[in-house]
């Protein structure tokens, strides 16, 4: 019997129209050396959702490109996976709203999952699982975030980095035993000890919004936020990444029986230039094989890997047959990696 494989057929992305430029940041933070920050992060433009734009809206716009470009039709989709940490509502499931908006069949399965920067890789693993147990043939994986809605306007520690955006990835089944598995092995990792280091503390059931949670405080770097805002301990996140990701990459190579030189291109979560450079040096990956491309986009959380992949495909950096390692890591802490063959 032929084995069913799954492969990434197409990726389309969407960024909100409104942009936050470096000169606007310089005006907002006259005391901060924005140029220095920008030089380190490698980010010069961020996309910001409007007040009426939610993660479903961004996700729908990305997915509509797959439909209008005739890459697939709504009736082809038999499962929708939606990854977000900024859902439209507590309930219902945002994926259900998207099913209706995209006019996917009512026979389509749909679910949300809550992950950040590792979300795309987890989504690929779920899609591969659904396809390879023959439960679905065309899985639409949408990653979308509107982190800007969590960010305090006076908190440059996160405002300079994060960007809103969405990616729609179509994963389809193929029956061809002559090919290399297009979506290969996975490794996963979780360490909830890091939960406090990247968090929106209030607004859920543990700490509902109240007068107290709206109270603002200023940190030692002059950033203002309340418990309803996004908080990131950059130093601890950086340490987690350096401690975890190089060994995760090596674990995946071992599991895949590959050497680091067998990988044609590495696309890590596009967190910021500084962190990626540190990881690249640690792993001794040559610059030409390592993607650093978020200057005009910012850190789009779960969409950063598919966005970088779409660009690399369009630019011809990766092409049919390229073996690409994808590595996601961040909030949770949560991490995951896989190797795809284009």
């Amino acid at each position: 019997m032929e084995r069913i494989y799954s492969r990434i057929k197409a990726i389309r992305t969407f960024l909100p129209e409104k942009k936050l430029t470096n000169s606007e940041l310089t005006e907002q933070f006259p005391d901060a050396d924005i140029n220095k920050i920008v030089n380190k992060t490698g980010i010069s433009l961020r996309s910001i959702s409007s007040d009426v734009e939610c993660s479903s809206d961004l996700g729908v716009k990305a997915a509509e490109k797959l439909l209008t470009e005739n890459i697939c039709s709504p009736t082809d989709i038999d499962f929708l996976l939606f990854c977000t940490q900024s859902p439209d509502y507590f309930l219902p499931t945002t994926a259900c709203l998207i099913q209706e908006r995209l006019q996917l069949p009512t026979s389509c399965g749909a679910l949300d999952f809550n992950l950040g920067c590792s979300g795309f890789i987890y989504g690929l693993s779920l899609a591969k699982g659904l396809i390879e147990i023959n439960a679905a043939s065309n899985v639409l994986l949408i990653t979308a975030e509107t982190y800007s809605k969590y960010i305090h306007p006076q908190d440059k520690s996160v405002k300079t980095i994060f960007s809103d955006g969405a990616a729609a990835t179509l994963i389809t089944s193929i029956n061809d035993d002559s090919i290399t598995d297009p979506i290969g092995d996975f490794i996963f990792g979780t360490d909830g000890k890091g939960a406090k280091n990247l968090i929106v503390p209030a607004g859920g059931m543990r700490l509902p919004k109240s007068k107290e949670t709206k109270s603002e405080s200023t940190d030692s770097s002059g950033n203002i936020r309340s418990k309803e805002n996004l908080y990131m301990d950059g130093g601890e996140i950086f340490n987690f990444t350096l401690n975890t990701i190089p060994s995760a990459v090596n674990q995946l190579l071992t599991r895949s029986n590959l050497d680091i030189n067998d990988i044609d291109y590495f696309i890590f979560h596009q967190a910021n230039k500084f962190m990626l450079e540190a990881l690249r040096k640690n792993l001794k990956i040559p610059t030409e094989k390592f993607c650093i491309n978020m200057e005009g986009y910012g850190n789009t959380v779960s969409s950063s890997i598919p966005m970088a992949m779409e660009i690399a495909l369009n630019q011809g950096t990766i092409f049919e047959g390229s073996r690409v390692m994808l590595v996601g890591f961040g909030v949770g802490y949560s991490w995951a990696a896989t190797i795809v063959t284009i």
Partner: protein, 75 residues
């Protein structure tokens, strides 16, 4: 342990010359901000292959303490 290369990186991070970088050089609010701390974490990882907790690093008040902290973590 590539202390010389690490100290050259520290001079760049703290925006001083190599000659100005001594054990007594003070780390304070003016030069020991979050970016400097993160950059130091990266430099320590690059030159010594270890990571040092950010909350411990930020408490160092001069370069001598920073070096002692790294040496303690290497052992």
């Amino acid at each position: 342990m590539d202390k010389k290369a690490f100290l050259a990186d520290m001079a760049e991070i703290l925006e001083v010359t190599n000659a100005e970088l001594s054990d007594a050089l003070e780390l304070n609010n003016d030069n020991w901000h979050s970016f400097a701390v993160v950059a130091t974490i990266a430099a320590i990882n690059e030159h010594f292959g270890i990571t040092v907790p950010a909350d411990t690093l930020i408490k160092c008040s001069n370069i001598g303490e920073l070096i002692n902290l790294i040496e303690a973590n290497i052992k």
